[in-house]
Symmetry: C2
Subunit: 321 residues, 2 copies
């Protein structure tokens, strides 16, 4: 058995056929061979570790998509023989200093970024350092285009199209006003759809993701004279507030009010009527992110263009008849 | 400035006073000193990395507590200068082989385990190897007692006490029958509470966490002749099904039916009436896990006894007047 085959079994198992991998693994097991990862890392310069800077969150009210995203990322990285290191700036450290420490310490092979903001300083810094990264969310032109994103604009245009086809003329967009690019995309999709179908569109926003504020703002809209016949919620979390507000105002979703949203959070399975929403292809996103990152790390090839994946419309009774 | 002070600033920042740390950090920044983590790891034998074996999950329906737990763990580990490496057996690898690979490769300083099962093979293996670990969930007697858990039994006894004080005599426990120790604890708490107050207690179970099955099982109970006046749900996820079932059966929670549960999931903030439940002290759990693990890693001291933390009862209108 060649040294390269054994090295592949240990370092790049995906390059071997299943039966070869099995034979090598059995042999390694039999001989009790244990490579010291630190010595190996010093020699080869690779750690088989991807750093994921975890967004700061509230343990009592975390981003409801985070658990599923991490699961998909761990799974996709694992398939390629890599592990995920959760990283965060130390107290007093800037984002850039935290990245520098990991780069300079040669702790990781590359970064996987999420929650990309406009002019995200992490993207600018990694681009300047020439260090491998892949981003869930678009990077600016001029920066490496190693990103993957969901085509939220198109998905929301399609949601509005579904409402137009059912005769709705007066629709509202419920968004959060925190300036996240993904929320802006969904708002842009709403505005584009409304223009395309000549509908009357209004927007209302809540400052963050506080349930009480979402319910209060929606109740006000439903109780007002300008009540729309349909609401496009910028996320399922916001849509949960519409259900609560509609119950409180005696408005029946799916009959008096059409409701469509975005994310397909698991908890919406308990809603009555079930929610029309857009499912994020989390496994495909994670696989594309890992594969783009490893093309840079292993082959030195940076993608020339970003990858925009379609969201999947899931039509359920909240859309109405 | 002593070599030890500089070493502490890099390796154990929590040991220095804030002003000393700041001075050393400024100096390091000025000199552009970058330790190679792999070389350092070979020399010192510590990586400042904690491995967390992530339970396999479905990205489209992940454990709703995972995001918050990971946030608390990343935060607690970061405070102590450690990072979290998400690990999982490679395809074809057993749990034990995956642990061995990390131990033998000296990739991590210790393990943080969650979702501890009875006779958990990971606990047995790490105990046999004498490798540092801390567990969220009880380990068997005879194994290292480096665990932290929530006193679910006591918390559910208290929930039942709240129901008894409101005159309920006929109560039901809604659990899942998947044999998880934490669900069994909650069931044991229910049975103990029911005995203590001389109530009539019945149990009903769903096989897993499928929303449709939870709602169907609860509707059957509510429509039947043996309908209880109160339900203790083994988790908030199950309680979400009770809300849906109650609406479908025309039963008003907080009036016709008292409902109490466990976990305080963020999404319950949208429920009407609000849910009485038990909050897990996630930050305290994570801090205790990290501190117990690092006592073993850094000082070689294994705790003599496990740490049982109280759940926090959050009383809201679903309990009834």
């Amino acid at each position: 058995m060649s040294r390269q085959t054994i090295s592949n079994a240990l370092n790049a198992p995906h390059r071997l056929r299943a039966e070869t991998l099995e034979r090598v693994t059995a042999l390694i097991e039999e001989l009790g061979y244990r490579p010291d990862q630190s010595a190996r890392a010093l020699k080869s310069g690779t750690r088989r570790i991807i750093a994921y800077p975890t967004p700061v969150d509230d343990p009592a009210n975390p981003n409801p998509l985070m658990g599923g995203f991490l699961e998909a990322v761990v799974s996709a990285a694992g398939e390629a023989g890599y592990r995920i290191l959760l990283v965060r700036p130390r107290p007093g450290q800037s984002q850039e200093q935290a990245l520098d420490e990991l780069i300079a310490g040669r702790t990781v092979d590359g970064f996987l970024l999420s929650d990309i903001l406009r002019d995200d300083p992490r993207v600018a810094h990694l681009a300047a350092e020439g260090f491998p990264f892949a981003a869930f969310g678009r990077t600016e032109p001029g920066h490496p285009q190693s990103w993957v994103d969901v085509d939220s604009v198109q998905a929301v245009i399609e949601l509005v199209g579904l409402l137009a086809a059912r005769g709705h003329r007066k629709v509202a967009f419920l968004g959060s006003s925190s300036g996240q690019p993904w929320m802006d995309d969904r708002r842009d999709g709403f505005l584009a759809g409304v223009r395309r179908h000549g509908m009357a569109g209004q927007e209302f926003s809540v400052p963050g993701d506080d349930p009480g504020e979402i319910v209060a703002a929606t109740r006000e809209l439903l109780a007002g004279r300008a009540r729309p016949t349909a609401i496009v919620a910028g996320g399922d979390w916001l849509a949960l507030g519409v259900y609560a507000a509609a119950r409180a105002e005696g408005v029946e979703i799916g009959a008096d009010l059409a409701l469509v949203a975005f994310d397909d959070l698991p908890v919406t399975a308990f809603l009555q009527p079930a929610l029309t929403t857009v499912r994020l292809p989390l496994r495909r996103i994670a696989e594309a992110l890992v594969s783009r990152l490893l093309r840079i790390v292993e082959d030195g090839v940076t993608p020339q263009a970003g990858l925009l994946l379609p969201g999947e419309l899931v039509v359920r009774p909240s859309l109405g008849p």
